[in-house]
């Protein structure tokens, strides 16, 4: 019994130590990233490249996911409300669901997979092949050359992709509901405007900024801390996707509580 309780204390102690070490490392990482901000001439061209990669590379995937989510939401709403509520409610539901939740969260989850894995694998491979050491040995900062452009690209492009996803989801929902229900354009627009407040769009945008920052920082942190060869790169990529997805979901709750339920 004494041994069992000792084991638990050891496990808890190790967990605590590992946790505080990671928090310390992450704080140091964020500090170093912020210190690189004044070196605009170094990070700006790389930021443009990365932003372009995220925008062009993720556009199809984001449009596809958002359009299907919008369409399914509209069809399910039509199925549930037929005969019980006026059809224009479908417009209300699609716009609210897409802008408040589906657009930002689905975009974040899709891009945490696509960008998170990409960043962690790129930086992880550079770490294990000593490219990051080489950069440092040349007196150049990996934070201004590698980390900051990626974090900023995620921070800027994920909100923009979220706005695109919101538009795609609403348009797909509108189009699909018209195919299966006797809903006119006027009905849909009337319903969409009924409960809509401009704050909803701001909320969607603000939430996606949090998601973008989290995905960029967490995946670069995982990548730059990679150890132990190909196995380590795999672990970093998986860790980046899982951690940024879980953190995005946690932030979803937190930001919603702060911004919508004061």
């Amino acid at each position: 019994m004494a041994t069992a309780s000792l084991d638990i204390r050891q496990v808890a102690g190790r967990f605590f130590l590992d946790g505080t070490t990671q928090v310390g490392r992450f704080t140091f990482f964020v500090g170093e990233t912020l210190r690189a901000v004044p070196e605009v001439r170094i990070w700006w061209p790389r930021f443009i490249d990365e932003a372009w990669n995220i925008g062009v590379g993720s556009m199809f995937l984001v449009l596809l996911i958002a359009a299907f989510a919008g369409a399914v939401t509209a069809l399910q709403a039509g199925y549930q409300f037929t005969g019980s509520l006026p059809y224009y409610i479908v417009g209300t539901l699609v716009v609210s669901a897409v802008i408040l939740e589906l657009g930002p969260v689905l975009t974040a989850l899709v891009l945490s997979g696509r960008i998170g894995a990409r960043y962690a694998a790129q930086l992880g491979t550079m770490r294990v092949t000593e490219q990051i050491d080489a950069l440092e040995s040349l007196g150049r900062s990996p934070y201004s050359h590698l980390v900051l452009p990626r974090v900023l690209a995620a921070l800027v492009m994920i909100p923009m992709m979220t706005m695109v996803a919101n538009a795609a989801g609403i348009l797909a929902g509108w189009w699909s509901v018209k195919l299966v229900l006797p809903v006119t354009n006027m009905d849909f627009v009337y319903g969409a405007q009924w409960f809509f407040r401009p704050w909803d769009a701001y909320y969607s945008f603000i939430k996606s900024i949090f998601f973008g920052g989290t995905i960029g920082l967490v995946s670069c942190f995982m990548g730059i801390g990679t150890q132990q060869g190909a196995e380590g790169v795999g672990r970093a990529a998986t860790g980046a996707v899982v951690s940024s997805s879980v953190l995005a979901l946690l932030l979803d709750v937190l930001v919603t509580k702060v911004l919508l339920n004061q």
Binding site: T129, E130, D133, A134, E136, S137, L138, G139, R140
Partner: protein
Amino acid sequence: MIELRGVRKRFGAQVVLDGVDFDVNEGETVALLGPSGTGKSVLLKHIIGLLKPDAGTITVDGKNVARLKRKELVAYRQNIGYVFQNGALFDSMDVFENVRLGIVDEDKFKDLEYAQKRVAECIRLVNLQPEVIQKFPAELSGGMRKRVGIARAIAGSPKYLLYDEPTSGLDPVNADVIDALVQRLDEEIGVTSVMVTHDVRGAFRVADRLALLSEGKIVMQGTPQEFLASDHPKVKAFLERDFDNAQFAA
């Protein structure tokens, strides 16, 4: 001058360096020998400040490397060229951009005309064809990658050159080419060099002095002739494997 005194380093429970004392005088080429996994590369990374010692001091030109502030460390590294084991070339850049990154003076780096001239000169110094500058690292052989790595390291005209296993993984012919290149660079550009290797034959050909690292300590430093005459059991055991070659080279 590079001076290491009582340098200790451990990773978790594993002691890698256990009180290393090591000197490199100006203008000389020192080969740091030792079996794989004895901490030779770790020692080299301490000299350039990529790792900090748990104890002991690393002094280069009178400066304690571990105590340098961020800007001082950047300036210090501009005096050192580091040749990584596998080249560590940036895969997203072509050879020109890789070597250009070695030009550490920011004004010269931005001057495209100077950069083109300097990169071409460094490529010539490492015996590569001018056409290679348009290629990406993935299109190069192992030996060419190492030579591009050397070109990048010398592009900033450093005072010191640190080579981490420059011939590992190469066939004997290419290894000889790299050894000859190291020797020629030392003579032509007059740098002070430290070469980490477990290739005894290459070390005897290139180095003015040798040092043997074993179990975290430098067990002997001396000229190739002193090494050959040594009765130290670890020196004898290490040289025995390649003894004929070493004698031949000496």
